[in-house]
């Protein structure tokens, strides 16, 4: 074999290798699982929600909603009810990692919350918002009984909230809307236990909401309610204000004698 022929053979085999590599590369890129493959089939609204998610939530909840260790839980299957409660009340996105997310001015408007809800609901499903209808359409007395058994231990018997362990707390229900209450019971945000529809039926939930909202609207015929927290603060006020007032009066009388 001449030197020229050897050179030509080398060139042709090199060319074949290059063609093969390119072919494999193209083939891989076509056939390989694509990280955004799950996006296929998302509605327009959900895709808009995904965009918001990837800007605002992805740091703590992960690229595929799987959650990030010590940062944020997985969102697969939490459902739109959870999104409504967490984002709609401003608890999410968090400002910083702390014991518990606090209610604040929502970062997203209603349309954006709806888009996020659609995106989360499209990934694993989960509890959904209640169908249309009056969320206070329930028996008041029954609602009171359910509230005292299931809710009052943490949220106080008139819904003023209370302390939990290690800096956490059960928030006051004063600012909660009907839908906030409903989605909270349904999704069990953070440390609140979940009250699924088989445990507390939609009718039961409406009764509880009716009770809570009626309590808030009830007047205080006795005058100042002092936090509505019952005899303990009332006694405290009597002692601090009343007794101190009496002592001051006695001292005053003494100085005038």
């Amino acid at each position: 074999m001449t030197g020229f022929a050897r050179l030509r053979k080398r060139a042709s085999s090199g060319l074949a290798l290059a063609i093969a590599l390119v072919a494999v590369g193209i083939g891989y890129s076509v056939a390989a699982p694509n990280s955004s493959a799950q996006d296929a089939g998302l509605s327009v609204e959900a895709m808009a929600g995904q965009e918001i998610y990837e800007n605002g939530c992805i740091t703590c909840h992960g690229r595929n909603l799987q959650g990030v260790e010590d940062q944020g839980p997985s969102l697969i299957g939490v459902g739109e009810a959870s999104v409504y409660f967490q984002v709609g009340t401003g608890r999410m996105p968090l400002v910083q990692q702390e014991a518990q997310a606090q209610r604040k001015t929502p970062a997203y408007d209603d349309a954006q919350v709806n888009q996020l809800m659609a995106y989360i609901q499209a990934n694993g499903g989960g509890p959904q918002l209640p169908s249309e209808g009056d969320l206070r359409d329930g028996d008041l007395a029954e609602g009171g009984e359910l509230f005292r058994l299931n809710c009052a231990s943490c949220h106080n018997f008139v819904g003023r909230g209370g302390a939990l362990s290690s800096g956490k707390n059960a928030p006051s229900l004063n600012e909660s809307s009907d839908l906030d209450l409903y989605t909270a019971m349904l999704s069990g945000p953070q440390n609140m236990p979940v009250f699924g529809d088989n445990q507390l039926s939609p009718e039961d939930k409406r009764a509880v909401i009716n009770y809570v909202q009626t309590l808030k609207e009830t007047a205080d015929p006795g005058g100042a309610n002092i936090g509505r927290a019952g005899p303990v603060p009332e006694g405290l006020v009597v002692w601090v204000v009343g007794i101190v007032g009496c002592v001051i009066a006695c001292l005053w009388v003494g100085t005038r004698s």
């Binding site: 009984e145 359910l146 058994l149 299931n150 231990s153 943490c154 209370g162 939990l164 362990s165 290690s166 956490k168 059960a170 069990g188 953070q190 440390n191 609140m192 236990p193 979940v194 009250f195 699924g196 088989n198 445990q199 009626t214 609207e217 009830t218 007047a219 205080d220 015929p221 006795g222 005058g223 009388v253 005038r256």
Partner: protein
Amino acid sequence: MSRADLVTLGGKMDGVQVIYAEQPVEPGSAAERRAERQVGASFVGAGLAALAFMVVYVAWPWEVDTAGGGVGLATLYTPLLGLLMALALTLIGVGVVLWAKKLMPYEVAVQERHEGASPEIERQTTAATLVDVGNATGIARRTLVKRSLGFGGLMLGLMAVFPLGGLIKKPGTALSETPWEEGMPLLGLNGLPIRPADMRPGSLQTVFPAVEGGSRSADGVAMLIRLLPNQVADYRAREGQEDFHWNDFVAYSKICTHAGCPVSLYEQETARILCPCHQSQFVATDGAKSIFGPATRSLPQLAIEVDGDGYFVAKGDFTEPIGPAYWERST
């Protein structure tokens, strides 16, 4: 004798002597009339406030309109009553104080101390009289009367204390047993049995024994908790209670082992059960072990299983007394 002389004589007989007396105001002066007007105004004010109290009590609208958000005159009903009563009482007090300070004479009087005991003659005669009366009744001689009176008196006294005995009762097994028994369904507040699918992970439900009046059972009340999937791996039962849970479900007594409060503040993420009374904390994934606060014992665990129809039932009563410790408690 004039009245003033009689007063002085009475004082002398009791060993009292006025050593300084002063009128705060000159009788008939402008200052006296002013003081009188002040006192009178206070008393009249008190009367008017009391009158206003009664008028408000009768005439003021008192029915609160809850539908209207509770604004209106009726919300002032109770506060007005309180204010008017306080005003009446305060003005009476102010009037009395003003009267005493501005109109009553100021005087200093001394009284001589005398011996504590009565004179010897009085003591001896009194003792003799008492003994004489005792003899006259003849109680010392008439033993029948004395003994029968003693008997009657004793029984009367006993009769008065006797009903207290009804308050003393041996508790028997009331403290150590609850209505739970093998195969008894766990009921929700609505009286319906519970299936595993009824509860989502991270939920808690208060459950009652399926007996008459079970939903008012103070000692049988329990918490059925479904742990989160990531908590199941951490679950550790107490020794000898390894088969008390059913898959990811656990049931504990709802009565705190410290002072008997209902512990149902459940933190689903940390699986902690908190007591609202004294801040005791129990860990649901660790056999409800007490980790904080004054409670020292774990919450008793209720052994549960699912029966053939797919409903939760108890596998028996609690294996230890629920609630706070008591004298005869063995563990």
